[in-house]
Symmetry: D2
Subunit: 428 residues, 4 copies
């Protein structure tokens, strides 16, 4: 196992700590004038964690091409090494989310690796949007909603297998995202297809342990281009209602129609006690899977504004899971995931700065200008010193990207892991 | 009351009937080769009706300007005269939907006018998106969801008044569309605002007679430009669930996010037994309120494909109300409404031609190409002879627009009704 | 003329200056560690100005309703008083942009009012999207592109009249935005309509003094809902090319298709030496005309990143005009315009903080992560102390909204200016 | 070479010809009443051809998965066999468009295969969006616009190589589509990137024979998800202008922002004498590459309405290339391409039915309703008998899909061509 040497982190932190202390002190004084205790915010930020998807540490791609980087992880153990680096330097990503069958391995070996890397296992992810070698029934025309009962059963059994693996390694949730839908008007009967989906999901739900949750994920389109079975939060909510109290809706920030107000969907799902969690990323056009906060950081803040609001008022049934879900096509995935984890923390920290009492007053009085300024004031506060100090105090890096580059980790794993040639091609 | 002279219609029909008979006969033979009885289709089409909104017969406008036409109706009685012309010539619009307070009048006079014109009253529409002269509480910051309880009560009472008026004139439904929302992040608390809305709507629901239905209408944006209380079908569905069995969701075709699959939403609401009805129109960009079928006629067909599917399989609780809701900025509203009513009929007729047994077979076999071709074959069949023959047989016009123009109706009412100057102005 | 008393501003500034000095000093030290001289940035910000549209100080509305506020300006002189308040408190809006015929008045009186208020006149705006009382030819079906030559000539003459008025009061530019387009496929012939537009614009261009510029503004839709003559920057660029060297393209941030990369359009127009200027505002859905920076502040920053890049490298022909263009439906327009002017300054200040040398290096090396972090680092720096100090030093308010509210200006003008009743109504 | 037996086609045609003759006669009579000679329309349709992309005959996929069908073509020769089937049965696709390096082969062998299959070669397509084995410089960060001069040169040389191959096999055009862009704000400098692109393209343009054309293709996003070098028609037009008279813009129907009026872009490019041609397909969300006309057939008709308008008035420089460009993920590609070719013909035939003289009159008089009805009347005419008769008369199939299925072609090639396993996987 390749690791980041403590001396590398320390050396980088030594260089940056004086400036950080000055920035932190200045921010502390500023916030104190606003009636905010900076240490209390820091404590909350330090406590916050977001899960990393195992598949995120490999270079992503599009239907046109994939351009791999050096040192691509070969298996779940390499991936967990990479994830450990992310957590080592940011202190913000204590858990990993596995994808079956990509990450299938001996549960004991997985648990040992988790112990070695200090990571835990977040939600399990099933895969019925691809065919695996030797698979009996193809998912070309759907999986859990397929017209053929045997195909549906195969897909349901795969999900149950994911639960079994998860139980063995200490996971407590299953995330179900399917590619089922259609590419042509008339290809499927919307109603029958949805009924078949619900029936298959009910059989999966039955296999769910009492202390587990099941997350269903909606997505407007892709890979299906005319209709998708779980196309939006409305359908997702119908599913969670139909399945039962352990079923929740997962919100991926990139899975909505253009212009949709996502923070409002978050509020509605909280109100319905059905918000299961998030797949964080950012997007400009479709499901672009760009780095979280890289395109519209204010939107991310507004989502966290809803989460902090729910946290503060102790909304019933509110306990969302947080995970990154991105495709890193042109960056080192480890760097992107580190920066993204920090962006999520940043949005959280800024949302904590909102003067909620003042906000409520402005809302009661319909003082739209001051209400929105209250949010903007929190958003534009540069909370970087809070994040960095939280990292420093837990032994992570003040500047994770610089420390990572200084460590030479990528070069080291590139030497161990064989180069991968550019895949992709005929798919246009 | 200005009317269309029977002689005018007869004269126009006489000119066109020979060609129509030939077209109808040819189509009948063609359909018979496809196993379809043209007369059965015609009977269904003849039976079909769509309601006209009272406000639709006046020239519409935008926030930039309104360019009135000649003979603008001065009040609900003029409007009903115009609506009577539409039904007289198309035979497709037997009812009118009133908007309160715009159409407020003595119920007895309304009933008398209905008798005189041969029209009936469809759903009542309330208005809490504008302030009326002398109104106690302003709706500038909302109505049914306003932060102020007295404003919410005023809005609820107005809706109850609409029910009362409706009861007096034989309506059986109330449609509630509100402009409530916000223009700035933070202006309102999404959750509290929605709870207030639900509370106010419950008081309206209580006043609903047992044989009435209440329709709530979702809309993504406008007049509120950051958030809308009933922003999409998901929230609309939550409302219908919360209110009870007489509450249903209304779908306005122009109220969705870009690219959204509307026919799928229709299917989901049918499945949930909560589809209340439609506001038909067409749009290219936002809530453009263009003439039905003028921009994407295939989408309209696909919506009707769902409706006919539900009708054929006798879906439980399926009884949607059909209404046009358009803004006629550059055409004679009577002409646009006639053409739009026929476009709705056209979509219905074409959807009736779908070979549903074959379609089901293709769907079972995942024969996407033949499934979609089955829809396309029905769609591309020119059903105009069926529609025209249905009109001819009920004494309406083969070609309503030509007959209308020949009648000189617009010039006649222009002489009776004073010219209106172009309104609009400071609103940019 | 009602004015803001110096004592009110001073009193507010006195309360806030100690905190500001502390914040400014801390930021100065922080920036100094990043190699940036805070005073140099402040000087640039202090120099920056954005024009206010005369119509912006009245309450806006939608096609559904308008809810006026207290003290609505009655004419251009009231409007200039309001504009003077905005500049008095922010020091950021030295000029006003007039709209003809709304602001038509004796040029000598206008100049006197300008002298009295210390304002200057920015670009003139013509109006051929509404009919004025007594107007010979209606613009219902277009103006500069109308099928009828006499209507086109009337519209061209109106634009020439705007130039004449502008010459008399010291303006140096004409902005032409038209509502011309169509609501139905086939309503107009795209090509002929555009040729007619070009011909009419050539006659306006001929009347343009040598030291003037003409700005054409593109917009995707509204008030026309199927097609618009100047629908996007491609057509806008064709126009500027066709007209000549004094013709430039104006970019309104809210006039684009969903998801469009506006900062890239800005870059292309700079490259083509055809960027004339901006109408700043923000939007979530369509041409929402929300307050600048209220929805997506990072997008605004990215636009300014292009502007500062062009400024720094001395791009040829680069001299864009900056103007706000918003509709204030639920706020006091004066407050919204003050905040928006500051948001524009904020984006400018943050863009000035970008380490452009580092950025260029990262771009050369395809270090996408560090390149984007370079922008994010500048964006997340809270530049409020710079803006506030610039205001304080020029005698404006540290916190303009608080000072404005303390001044009682709105109540004073409400006493002088008669209340306006809620307009809007039949337009749905 | 596997072929479709004439007897199979004849047998199918025999079954369907009586009905076709009846339908054709009835439609002829109907059109004759509208003053249209059906045989003249048929002659134009019979003459019309659309090119097939070589890559279109293989099953497509998404970044999530690819589900191959039976008998996937192994190389360009297999692909040309498949293309020959399409033309054999539809008579509508006389040419094939090659993609280099996918279709690289001995030019003599290609010419021989063309002769054998009766096909010709349409535009050449280069590929600089993927890395090929052994390629010196990677396109991960761009090709023709790459920051590195050597990479740009490599990409330019590849394009020149495509011209050379094309010259050897009789092609007359090069289509250049690149994936260059960026995934993060700041990753590239828009202006420098575009300048580099233009410089590289100039070197390609220089190598273009005098009787060739070069087509550049714009695309809003994908594979780049923040910015694309040739993002829209405005930039595309700037390129065609910068390069010279042999440079034209190619319009792919799926490459635009949501809601964009594509037919208007077509009109603008015709007006600018820069419309090079089309990649036909359909889409609901993004670049979905669905079958042409499958989602919005009226939009396709409106595009052809512009083309026929230009054809009729003899627009200068008007000679667009027509090609299909689709991804067939759930259908037999041969079937989809046959149906799509017919949909293109259908849109063309319907556009030929537009009464252009009447339309012009309605446009002159601003009779929006009758103008749009004129288009709708043409669109809703079922022209299938015209298309089918044109096919029958040239020895193709009345019903190509049925004939194809009867022929057993897919099973035959599946026996010859080894099965391909489902690719895709790590790319999410």
């Amino acid at each position: 196992m390749t690791q980041i040497d403590k001396s590398v982190v320390d050396a980088q932190n030594d260089k940056a700590s004086a400036a950080l202390k000055a920035d932190y002190a200045a921010l502390g004084e500023h916030l104190s004038r606003r009636g905010i205790n900076i240490d209390a915010i820091k404590a909350k930020v330090a406590h916050y964690g977001v899960a990393v998807p195992s598949w995120g540490v490999g270079t992503g791609g599009t239907r046109f091409a994939r351009f791999p980087g050096a040192g691509e992880p070969r298996n779940i153990f390499d991936k967990m090494d990479d994830c450990a680096v992310i957590h080592r330097l940011t202190g913000a990503t204590p858990s990993v989310s596995l994808h079956i069958p990509w990450d299938k391995a001996d549960p004991a070996a997985l648990k040992a690796k988790a112990e070695e890397t200090g990571l835990t296992f977040d939600a399990m992810n099933s895969n019925t949007f691809q065919d695996q070698a030797g698979q009996k029934h193809s998912y070309k025309f759907g999986s859990l909603s397929h017209a053929n009962a045997a195909t549906r059963q195969q897909a349901a059994e795969h999900n149950i297998e994911c639960i079994e693996i998860g139980k063995a390694i200490g996971s407590k949730a299953l995330t179900v995202w399917i590619g089922d839908g259609s590419n042509f008007p008339g290809q499927t009967n919307f109603t029958k297809q949805f009924e078949r989906y619900l029936e298959a999901m009910r059989s999966v739900y039955k296999a769910l342990p009492d202390d587990w949750r099941i997350f269903t994920e909606h997505k407007m389109y892709e890979p299906a281009f005319y209709s998708t079975v779980v196309q939006d939060w409305g359908t997702n909510y119908m599913i969670a209602e139909a399945l039962g109290p352990k079923a929740y809706c997962l919100v991926d920030l990139g899975h909505h129609a253009p212009n949709v107000n996502i923070e409002m969907i978050v509020a509605r799902l909280i109100q319905a006690k059905k918000l299961g969690g998030f797949h964080f990323n950012d997007s400009k056009y479709g499901d672009d899977d760009l780095d979280t906060g890289s395109i519209d950081p204010y939107r991310l803040f507004l989502v966290f504004n809803e989460l902090v609001d729910a946290e503060m008022r102790g909304a019933a049934g509110f306990s969302p899971a947080h995970m990154l879900d991105q495709s890193h096509n042109v960056t080192d995935p480890i760097e992107s995931l580190m920066v993204s984890a920090m962006e999520v923390q940043r949005a959280y920290a800024a949302a904590l700065l909102v003067d909620r009492k003042a906000l409520e007053g402005f809302q009661e009085e319909n003082d739209a200008l001051m209400a929105t300024n209250t949010l903007k004031k929190a958003f534009r506060t540069d909370v970087e010193p809070i994040l960095a100090m939280a990292r420093l105090e837990k032994g992570a890096a003040i500047d994770p990207v610089t420390a990572y580059r200084a460590s030479g980790y990528r070069a080291k794993v590139a030497a161990e892991r064989p180069a991968v040639s550019g895949a992709g091609g005929g798919i246009v």
